[in-house]
Amino acid sequence: MIIQALAFYLFAAVAVASGVMVISARNPVHSVLFLILAFFNSAGLFILIGAEFLAMILVVVYVGAVAVLFLFVVMMLDINFAEMREGFLQYLPIGALIGIILAAELILVFGSWVVSPEAAQVLTAPALPAGDLTNTHALGNIIYTEYIYLFQSAGLVLLVAMIGAIVLTLRHRPDVRRQKISDQVERKREDVIEIRDIPTGSGV
């Protein structure tokens, strides 16, 4: 138990600290790296509550794909970060004020958290029939039954995202030469080679 608690506080502390670093780091590459660190720690937190599927998905999707993509984008784009920071400092006071107010309010809100009497019961009751079902299996069980509507809708959202990405980025450039194998294969000798008799000495 004590190890679990220690691990929780470690993961949590590192996650929060790296979250702060994401927005305060001077070098954007460092920001992205701290973001990856935050993801890893979140994954650790998931494992602590026994949600290993989510933890793995977080690492695979967010660390493996999204964050790395971020990294590429940040490194490839030429963004003047010094200029952006000036603006940041200019708005810092009022931004901080708003942030503090919001934070204070949310603390107030959580201060009023009342745990319902049945909650303890629900918590102690095993979410899954012990041992029988894996995490993945259990998720699948409700996603494809109870939440089929939401699951399919999410699929549609992703489809639209895909269409959008294509619509906004795919370009047909007529001046770009592409290899068309079928064209190459179908090319005949007569189409491309012409033999001419040229009298010697007269030039082309």
């Binding site: 009023s112 089929i148 509507y149 999410a154 549609l156 959202v157 639209v160 959008g164 619509v167 980025t169």
Partner: protein, 481 residues
């Protein structure tokens, strides 16, 4: 838990989703040459969807563990937004083909956006609500930026996307607060919970404020309106026309449903939020519009102001108020489509012009167009007997009966201010020195659309009774316990 009966309930949505995918396949295989056909296919899909909506089960039916609901309210709004989307699509076709926006994905994205809207309108759970919103928004972000080679269109899409993501975050945060404090995301569950619990918990109330803020962004109510003028101006005009009607109608309907169904018992809490954003929207919408020189920006502020008026009906929190909202949205749809059809006709030398000044002397160079636009402006200003008058009449009456006198008075005063800039357009068209005439030949589609919307706007009072009874039936659903 019978999948067959569930599917019967979502038949229109299912049809639209599958049709969208079929269109996508069709376009992908046939290429750009089929664009025009796909536009008409899209219009056809919307029409068929409308028929399916009307032919759907009567009364209230739930599906998918009560995540989805079809009732009179949903049917009324869906019909409305399908009409709006179909008209906008017809409007977009000649423009897009002419301006080189020939991606066949455009109508498909519109179809998916409409699907998202239908899902929003039928949402009966915070999760399905969120997915509907995202499906809709994502499609809209893309169509806003569809003219990817022009700076303004890309900028509009990006701004819309960033701010939309922020609003989605706010919305999600609010939902999680509500879930955390209430323990359920289902509308009925929330409703029974709050009805039983007389004193709402503070977490729920803050969550409610967040949700309201997220939804206010979608209806572009002040202070969550900032994206509207830039996006309206930057996006291609037919896209703006679409933005001005269908998403607004869907978001407003969703707003109404969320406030009145799950949070109906908390009316005293959220009434103040709505009161504030309604007041602020009316004021900003009318005042900021005065100094605009671009007609699309003007329409953006005009729609902010209109949403303020609609929110007056929501602030009333009564059946009468919801009836007023639905009537308002109906007439708002036709006025806006008509106005944008006129704006689309503002072409000079083959290029679009958007300056209000370029309308100068339109009454001499193109009297029919000027007459139609003047009619829409009069209607927007709320001059009887045009449709816009009845729209305002019903929401203000609801406000008076709900004893929201400040809102009603401010609403009337801002209507006067609003009348100023609507009438200014008429003044420019009729009394200013004639500018260079617009290109001749509006195109068949625009001519037909303008004619239809003019007729609807002018003779709205004839069809008022059926619209009113439909709206009353729809509103009653939300107040049935």
């Amino acid at each position: 838990m019978d999948i067959v009966s569930d599917i019967a309930v979502i038949r229109p949505e299912l049809f639209v989703a599958i049709a969208g995918m079929v269109m996508l396949m069709f376009g992908a295989f046939r290429g750009e040459s089929s664009t025009k056909f796909i536009y008409w296919l899209g219009v056809g899909v919307l029409v068929v969807a409308g028929v399916l909506v009307l032919a759907g089960p009567t009364g209230t039916s739930l599906a998918f563990n009560a995540q989805f609901v079809v009732d009179d309210f949903a049917v009324f709004v869906k019909v409305l937004l399908l009409i709006g989307a179909a008209l906008a699509l017809i409007l977009a076709m000649p423009f897009n083909l002419r301006e080189g926006i020939d991606q066949f994905e455009f109508p498909i994205l519109i179809i998916f956006a409409v699907l998202g809207m239908m899902m929003m309108v039928s949402a009966n759970d915070l999760m399905s609500l969120y997915l509907g919103i995202e499906l809709q928004s994502l499609s809209l972000y893309v169509v806003a930026a569809i003219r990817r080679d022009t700076l303004r269109s890309s900028e509009a899409g990006l701004k819309y996307f960033v701010l939309g993501a922020l609003s989605s975050g706010i919305l999600l945060y609010g939902m999680s607060l509500v879930y955390g404090f209430a323990g359920t995301t289902n509308f009925e569950g929330l409703a029974t919970l709050f009805a039983a619990d007389s004193e709402a918990s503070i977490g729920v109330v803050v969550g409610l404020v967040f949700i309201a803020a997220g939804l206010a962004f979608k209806v572009s109510a002040v202070p969550f309106h900032m994206w509207t003028p830039d996006v309206y101006e930057g996006a291609p005009t037919p896209v703006t026309a679409f933005f001005a009607v269908a998403p607004k109608i869907a978001a407003m309907a969703l707003f109404v449903r969320v406030m009145l169904e799950p949070f109906g018992a908390l009316v005293l809490e959220w009434q103040q939020v709505i009161w504030f954003i309604s007041l602020a929207s009316m004021l900003l919408g009318s005042f900021a519009a005065i100094v605009q020189t671009n007609i699309k920006r003007l329409m953006a502020y005009s729609s902010i102001g209109h949403m303020g008026f609609v929110l007056v009906g929501l602030a009333a929190g009564s059946e009468e108020g919801v009836t007023g909202i639905l009537v308002y949205l109906t007439i708002y749809l036709f006025m806006n489509i008509g106005t944008f059809a006129c704006i689309l006709a503002m072409r000079r030398g083959g290029r679009m012009v958007e300056d209000i000044d370029s309308l100068a002397g339109l009454s001499k160079t193109n009297p029919m167009l000027a007459g139609a636009l003047a009619l829409f402006m009069f209607s927007m200003a709320g001059i009887p007997p045009l449709g816009g008058f009845f729209a305002k009449l019903f929401v203000f009456r609801a406000a008076i009966n709900a004893e929201l006198y400040v809102l009603a008075v401010v609403g009337l005063l801002t209507s006067v201010v609003g009348a100023f800039y609507y009438l200014r357009i008429i003044k420019v068209m009729y009394f200013d020195e004639a500018a260079e005439p617009f290109d001749k030949g509006l195109g068949r589609e625009i001519t037909v659309l303008v004619t239809v919307t003019v007729i609807v706007t002018t003779f709205f009072f004839i069809g008022l009774a059926p619209v009113l009874s439909g709206a009353e039936a729809a509103a009653a659903v939300l107040f049935a316990v």
